[in-house]
């Protein structure tokens, strides 16, 4: 029984991480139809921004250092995303393939820059003591970082849902996901909504980057790119632009991974997740429009 609890909670913790990275991607892809290959780079840049800021505070005050680092990461992600959108993506609205290409270039350049500035070695993240400890739930000893991630992801989900359902910009985003041409035809300034969505996506990626660093204990330049694959899988399996869909898909993907890896042979879970992706791509009920 404690094994199942452990698997479920660690699975949800992993799913929370996937959701944080995927939520921004889902919004951006769903609304702007931009396949943002630079999302992993946003993740990385923000994580390093957060780490650098956290490092300015002496390690003895770990709680303050970590929290300020978190703030730095979120802001870093938002600013980086804002710059990316206004400088690189906005000029290319008429050329969707160009938009994808420019995100590829930005991803390459940004990660290379981080590697050049900080080196390839992993950088340890200073954690407050309680985060390195475990909590016992129903006989299972669970690392607190997993619980932290679940709480944060739920909070972000709630925030995004409120944003989407209760604010004007949220309405524009939801309408735009359904039918962008109509929204534009109605004369609504979709472009400003795009920038805001991109910035929010970047902030979520930054949060994901810093919390991934918390989850693994360190940050490195390659983590963002490897997380991107899972983010894509979650976005494709969930429904584009829908936050609840994204959250459920993230939880499903992570839980499938955990349970199959444990009960079946090692690696079966990861393989089946890729299979899920392939199936989702080949059997889209709404056809090519969704993608």
């Amino acid at each position: 029984m404690s094994t199942i609890v452990l698997l479920v909670v660690t699975g949800l913790g992993l799913g929370a991480l996937y959701f944080l990275v995927a939520s921004g991607l889902s919004l951006i892809w769903g609304l702007m139809r931009v396949l943002n290959f630079a999302h992993g780079a946003l993740f990385t840049v923000a994580a390093y921004a957060g780490w650098s800021i956290a490092n300015t505070i002496p390690a003895t005050d770990a709680a303050r250092a970590w929290s300020i680092g978190l703030l730095g990461a979120v802001l870093g992600g938002a600013i980086a995303a804002f710059l990316l959108e206004t400088v690189l993506i906005r000029p290319l609205y008429a050329r969707p393939v160009g938009q994808v290409l420019v995100t590829v270039g930005a991803a390459l350049a940004a990660v290379a820059l981080v590697e050049a500035m900080y080196g390839d070695d992993p950088k340890q993240l200073v954690l407050p003591a309680w985060m390195s400890a475990n909590t016992v739930i129903a006989g299972a000893s669970i690392p607190n970082t997993r619980l932290l991630l679940i709480v944060v992801a739920l909070a972000v989900l709630g925030l995004l849902l409120i944003l989407l359902r209760k604010t004007r910009y949220g309405l524009i985003v939801r309408a735009g996901v359904e039918n962008r041409a109509m929204v534009e035809a109605l004369g609504i300034n979709v472009h400003r909504a795009f920038t805001i969505v991109f910035t929010i996506g970047g902030a979520a990626a930054g949060l994901g980057g810093y919390l991934a660093g918390t989850y693994f204990g360190y940050i490195d330049p390659q983590r963002g790119t490897s997380m991107l694959i899972f983010a894509f899988i979650v976005v494709v399996v969930g429904r584009l632009g829908s936050m609840t869909g994204c959250a459920i898909a993230a939880a499903v993907v992570a839980l499938v991974q955990q349970f199959l890896n444990f009960y079946a042979a090692a690696g079966v879970g990861d393989f089946s997740v890729v299979l899920l992706l392939a199936l989702a791509l080949l059997i889209r009920p709404r056809g090519a429009q969704t993608l």
């Binding site: 050049a116 690392p143 693994f216 204990g217 090692a266």
Partner: protein
């Protein structure tokens, strides 16, 4: 039309030129003796080898006197950017411009590629930074020596030492690539004579991000030893997961491949694990003397075993060049093969002729927790020494098809 008439003329001059013009100028007797240190200068292995490898090699050259056979010695630092393609091309370029020795070659794929070039051009390559036993096995050749460590030595050192201490049931986390599989089979063979066996081995798919489910399975299996036969980022992730789920309190944790530079980056993660390496900077007075001089040249960092191996190999090669009176690779191989030696890095060492595996003592070490570390970078404590004749794959078991 005019072009067509030119073509036969071009062809004729082509044939003539091909036979008359040599492809590269013959080296003059006053040309410098060149050592090309080909390694990863800026990527994941730069801490293990990188600039430190160049520094160590230059230290050896300086200690030797800077000249050999009346010719100055030059050290070229070459970044292969962890690409076997680039390593291969750079090696060709270096050898073509007069390099007599390729040194270090961290990264097994790059080492294997450069070994192939060395064989092609009949010049020496000494590998210190790669783990693959293929270098003295299927891909062995006359012009390549494998100097420092290899996966067999790592597995046998740690495996034998831990199994001998009574740890019989093992659980393996193995990455699904050549290195991982080689480590698993080497570990299995190493622990068998002492009654040890793997009750289970999980093969991780490439790019596994989360090890929690594997740690859970390991915990439920109740082994005495958890063997993390990973390399690189996987080792860090799996170690962290093992500690998060309290496995380090329940069982002994053994790591396949770990260097001083890894512990320098993330000391908390590796504390308590047992590993094998070819040298430790604080193992004795001679080692420490070298480490102090190295630290003065490299911002207080202590040398890794690979960097120390670079110094040692360079020094040994220069001595051979002096003794033989030439940089000709064939003569040096004839001189080195079967020769025994001893220096601050390699104890009871021999340039084994059978497969060009350089054998020497290996050391089993524990990574100390932060509280027991007495000075910066003093992460390790040596717990066992594996003598040279037992540390590496026996010559009789070598798969090298010796063609020389």
């Amino acid at each position: 039309m005019r072009i067509a008439r030119v073509i036969p003329f071009l062809c004729a001059s082509a044939v003539l030129a091909n036979t008359l013009i040599p492809i590269s100028p013959a080296p003059a007797d006053t040309a410098p003796v060149k050592i090309a240190v080909i390694t990863d200068m800026s990527g994941v292995y730069s801490g293990l080898s990188g600039q430190g490898a160049v520094i160590a090699t230059k230290m050896a050259v300086a200690d030797f006197g800077g000249k050999v056979l009346g010719r100055p010695i030059v050290v070229d630092a070459v970044d292969h950017q962890n690409s076997a393609t680039i390593a291969e091309a750079k090696a060709r370029e270096e050898f073509g411009s007069g390099a007599d020795l390729a040194m270090d070659l961290t990264n097994s794929a790059a080492a294997i590629a450069v070994a192939s070039v060395a064989k092609d051009v009949h010049k020496l390559a000494i590998v210190t930074g790669a783990a693959s036993t293929a270098l003295t096995g299927a891909d062995c050749n006359k012009y390549t020596y494998h100097y420092a460590y290899d996966s067999y030595a790592l597995a046998h050192g740690t495996g034998a030492s831990v199994a001998r201490a009574g740890f019989k049931t093992w659980y393996g986390i193995v990455p699904d690539y050549a290195f991982g599989k080689a480590m698993l089979s080497d570990f299995t063979a190493a622990i068998a004579p002492y009654g040890g066996k793997f009750i289970h081995a999980d093969t991780m798919p490439l790019g596994t991000t989360d090890f929690s489910s594997y740690m859970l399975a390991a915990r439920n299996a109740h082994p005495q030893v958890l063997a993390l036969l990973n390399a690189g980022a996987d080792t860090v992730n799996s170690m962290k997961a093992a500690k998060e789920f309290g496995l380090d309190k329940q069982m002994k944790i053994v790591v396949g491949l770990l260097f001083l530079s890894d512990v320098d980056a993330l000391p908390d993660v590796f504390a308590g694990s047992r590993i094998t390496d070819s040298w430790y900077w604080n193992e004795d007075k001679a080692a420490r003397a070298f480490a102090d001089r190295f630290a003065a040249a490299d911002n207080g960092l202590r040398p890794t075993s690979v960097q120390a191996a670079d110094y040692s190999a360079t020094m040994q090669w220069l001595k051979a060049v002096k003794a033989v009176g030439s940089t000709d690779a064939d003569k040096i191989v004839a001189y080195l093969d079967g020769r025994k030696f001893d220096d601050f890095y390699a104890h009871h060492a021999e340039w084994r002729a059978r497969d060009h595996r350089v054998i020497h003592d290996m050391y089993v070490m524990d990574v100390l927790p932060k509280s027991e570390v007495k000075e910066p970078h003093a992460w390790m404590k040596i717990v066992d020494t594996i003598p040279a004749d037992q540390a590496f794959r026996p010559a009789s078991e070598s798969t090298c098809q010796k063609t020389w």
